[in-house]
């Protein structure tokens, strides 16, 4: 599914930095899905992904005044820190409850579509490295360009190209093993 890119207007960001509630609400509404998906695809239960996403914005409120540079990169750095704490507390293993398994997407005739399910993607991503996972999420799920991914991950474009190649190769091997 092609996503609308995460673009934050400069004016909204400036007002949010002055802790204007309306601007912060706009920021939350725009960025929440992006942050939620970041956690969702990183071996986090749905409930925890929602809680962690909320926690990211609570931290945004307390430190947005000093925010500099590319905003999504800053947001992801907060999310990454929270995720590290989460993994440390919970351990890396993840159990998917029945409630959290996504319902399969259906076509207009009510038949199951021949597409990858979000939970399948999550399971596959669970088997690759953290950096590879982040590239797949930012590049193919969020639809960012290499430049944007490079800025967000604080790496060179060349490094991102290499990472995306290695990530896709790793996923191909996983799929082959499953077959």
């Amino acid at each position: 599914m092609k996503l609308e890119k995460l673009v934050i207007e400069e004016e909204v960001l400036e007002k949010a930095k002055q802790l204007e509630e309306t601007a912060l609400s706009i920021l939350v509404k725009k960025c929440y899905p992006f942050v939620f998906r970041y956690f969702y695809y990183r071996s986090v239960t749905r409930e925890d992904a929602e809680d962690l996403a909320s926690e990211v914005f609570v931290r945004v409120v307390s430190s947005i005044k000093g925010q500099r540079g590319y905003f999504p990169a800053w947001l992801i750095s907060i999310a990454r820190n929270l995720l590290t704490d989460y993994y440390r507390k919970r351990g890396r293993s993840r159990e998917t409850s029945l409630e959290e398994i996504e319902e399969p997407s259906l076509d207009s005739d009510g038949n199951e579509k021949d597409t990858l399910h979000p939970d399948d993607i999550r399971k596959m991503l669970d088997m690759i490295t953290e950096e590879q996972k982040e590239v797949i999420i930012l590049r193919f799920i969020e639809g960012n360009t290499n430049e944007e991914v490079a800025k967000t991950m604080n790496k060179s474009i060349g490094a991102i190209k290499a990472l995306q190649f290695r990530a896709l190769t790793a996923l191909r091997e996983i799929l082959k093993k499953e077959e």
Binding site: L19, K29, F36, S54, L116, Q164, F165, L175
Partner: protein
């Protein structure tokens, strides 16, 4: 070679993003076709996969948390970091307002106690000297009994005598104001003696006589150290002390009634 395949994969991904089908994209790179086809298909499948459902309640809950965090952020820092409950826990007070009031009073008292103690040895010209004088006035004001007042005036007069000696030692000159205050404080003892019972009145007359003798001796001892320009004032003060000593002797011997002020009437040196 690896670097090249990564670059070609990226070019192919960009072309796919423009809507060109995988097979058409790979026609330009037949040597990588086998390897890249699977990778491009996986990338396309991930791109086309449905997104996880996002619950509206989760966004609303996040907005509420952000609102709360914002309110907390707008409060003064000390309030945000020290919740009211902690104050009451600290002092075991049922009401935080009482705990705060008590803390405030304690801090102020501690400040004054420190200032009063530090000012005890101060001399005229020191920043703390006015606090010393103010404390003496307050103590005198708060003392209701004539005996207590007489006791305080005797002590203050003696204190001025000591200040006079220390000031001369440190500065090399006589402090006329302190000398005058020494005599005035002694005179104010007389203000309280008539209000005392007769036996106690006699006791304080004796004490006052001793004080005047002591002051006269101290002042005579200072004569050699005082500059010539201030000698006149010193001599006048010695004379007053001498007259007061003699006068108190008459009072003790009942030659003069207790209420008579005689040389104790305040006058400038």
């Amino acid at each position: 070679m690896d670097g090249q395949i990564e670059r070609i994969l990226d070019i192919c991904l960009e072309k796919m993003e423009q809507g060109i089908p995988v097979d058409e994209v790979l026609m330009e790179y037949p040597q990588y076709r086998e390897e890249l086809k699977e990778l491009l298909t996986i990338a396309k499948d991930i791109e086309n996969a449905p997104l996880p459902r996002l619950r509206d309640e989760a966004v609303t809950s996040c907005l509420v948390k952000v609102h709360d965090a914002l309110q907390l952020q707008k409060k003064p820092v000390w309030r945000a970091r020290l919740p009211r409950l902690q104050w009451s826990r600290l002092f075991y007070f049922p009401s935080p307002a009482w705990a705060k009031a008590l803390a405030f009073v304690l801090i102020i008292s501690l400040f004054f106690w420190g200032a009063v103690n530090l000012s005890a040895d101060s001399l005229p010209g020191d920043p703390l000297y006015p606090i010393k004088l103010a404390t003496e006035k307050v103590r005198c004001f708060l003392t209701i009994e004539p005996e207590g007042k007489a006791k305080l005036r005797l002590a203050y007069s003696e204190e001025r005598t000591q200040e006079l000696v220390r000031y001369l030692d440190e500065k090399g000159e006589l402090n006329i104001r302190v000398l005058q205050a020494m005599l005035d404080e002694a005179a104010l003892v007389m203000d309280n003696i008539p209000r005392l019972p007769k036996d106690k009145g006699i006791v304080y007359c004796l004490k006052l006589e001793q004080l005047c003798t002591f002051q006269k001796e101290v002042l005579e001892g200072l004569k050699s150290m005082v500059p010539l320009t201030q000698r006149q004032e010193l001599d006048n003060a010695i004379q007053i002390c001498q007259h007061r000593h003699e006068w108190m002797g008459k009072v003790i011997r009942n030659e003069v009634p207790i209420g008579e002020w005689g040389p104790f009437v305040p006058k400038e040196i």
